[in-house]
Symmetry: C2
Subunit: 301 residues, 2 copies
């Protein structure tokens, strides 16, 4: 059996793992995200400890990071975190600082692309060639898989920052994104819910009107994404989506907002299996890093 390393660096915690696949995990640890130096030191300590304790060769390591990150292999800052508002992390050389201390080939992407690849290999998108993984939590992000790979492009997609319909008479909350106010993230992420309703999202009862408004905004974004990518499936994860009352409302509003325009049975007749939670649950990101490492080893990405 071949084993792979996975590192998922998030804004508040880092997941480190050694595994062959989700059924065969040899080591797993969560580390708090603090300063770059301390966090990178903790990540390296995890792998050094693993190598001291196990006679197991790691084939490759997949690193999936919060962003924005530099994904251009020809860039001098490839693998760096770039313009994040997170204190201390602007221009942090994440990949090079880790890779130079471990003699193992690395594959690098952002956390949502990693999660999408994990869902493709082992989760809810195994039968989809064009699909989208979206996380709605402290922030909003998404990874899109099409034509055999995640979309990178100029930088990488930032689907939390699309333009949104916003009727200020129905919802006077201006949005909280420091760049765009009422973008998708600015209207729907956890902090937006907290600021709009003056309490944390998890304190809002399932029948609170907050959830219907939230579902309508999410469905508006999904209509846009369906028009942009024509995905075969949409996977919705992240902390906000833990409120399960959201899924049926998001599906209903998405159908209403598309209004029959996209004539596909996958949408018109099977919306329950079209908009779904992650098959890998809250481990989509870290399993996705393992998946990236495996596909990299196999020459598929």
């Amino acid at each position: 059996m071949e084993y792979f390393g996975g590192i998922e660096t998030g804004g508040t915690k880092v997941n480190c793992m050694v595994a062959s696949d989700p059924e065969h995990v040899l080591a797993y640890e969560r580390i708090p995200t603090t300063t770059p130096d301390k966090t990178i030191g903790d990540i390296l300590a995890f792998f050094h400890r693993f190598q001291a304790e196990h006679e197991v060769k790691l084939e490759t390591i997949g690193l999936g990071s919060f962003g924005p990150v530099d994904l251009n292999p020809n860039s001098p800052t490839y693998g760096y975190i770039t313009s994040t508002p997170k204190p201390g992390w602007q221009n942090a050389p994440l990949l090079p600082a880790i890779a130079k201390e471990l003699d193992i080939p690395f594959i690098f992407d952002n956390d949502v692309n990693a999660a999408a690849i994990g869902e493709h290999l082992w989760g809810a998108a195994q039968d989809s060639q064009t699909f989208m993984y979206i996380t709605i939590g402290t922030g909003v992000g998404g990874g899109i898989f099409t034509n055999g790979a995640a979309i990178h492009g100029l930088v990488h997609p930032e689907v939390g920052h699309i333009c949104m319909p916003h009727d200020l008479q129905k919802d006077p909350f201006p949005g909280w994104c420091p760049f765009h106010a009422d973008c998708f993230e600015g209207l729907t992420a956890g902090p937006a819910m907290e600021k709009r309703w003056n309490t944390r999202a998890e304190n809002l009862a399932p029948d609170h009107p907050a959830w219907e408004l939230e579902a309508w905004y999410i469905a508006s974004a999904l209509r846009t994404f369906i028009c942009c990518y024509s995905p075969e499936r949409i996977i919705l994860g992240g902390g906000v989506m833990q409120q399960e009352t959201l899924f049926p409302m998001v599906r209903k509003f998405t159908l209403e907002l598309l209004n029959g325009y996209v004539q596909s049975p996958a949408i018109l007749e099977s919306i329950d299996s079209y908009i779904v939670p992650p098959g890998l649950g809250d481990k989509a990101g870290i399993y996705g890093c393992i998946a990236m490492a495996r596909l990299f080893k196999e020459g598929k990405i």
Copy 2:
């Protein structure tokens, strides 16, 4: 020299061509789009006439059609026009009806994907691996190229139907899309301009406030597309974009709406070469059909 056929079927006219590339065109004809039977007959007559008059072998033919179309090669209705509102064309078997009369291999896509491929091979996107071609005319559509091919997905993208910000106090026009009222197409296509201002777009003076509003809506859509695809370039074509005063305003508003979020010199420092007209002008679609045929012959698509 190898020669290829191209057929671009639009809502009002069909372009037929035999060419090797834009510098070597052997035959070109425009045919009005009437009923499917008459139009398909006229297309076949063009190729039969060409073959009678020339000792030239056509390697392959590229067919790019207005949509929606069925792009799934495994579907029994592959190559059909599907749910178009255009009278008589619903479920028209466009590709099979043409292909069965000509003993030449066909490659099929929608018209905007064809135009994108043409711009990639010979136009404004020769150096771009992820880019978008948008046409704003009687309708709004777009083709997106990434990871080596146009995005198809479940059906194909329909970027004219994304959700848009729409302040009814500033612009009380409700939009004219029969499905979504104020989607991108419903707010910005030629018929939207005509209904909003009670005159055809080409009659509006370059300094009429209509163009500033139009540019702001187009820029709002571009912000969404930049967040969705992270394109390396955006090509804007179609009849509405013939008003050249639009380009500088669209670029300015796109920068304002992104508000510095996407930290790329291609956007921040070179917007004039980031948002551009088609390199192939109003022939992007038909040259794109020739380009598809060529790439198909070469096994690249």
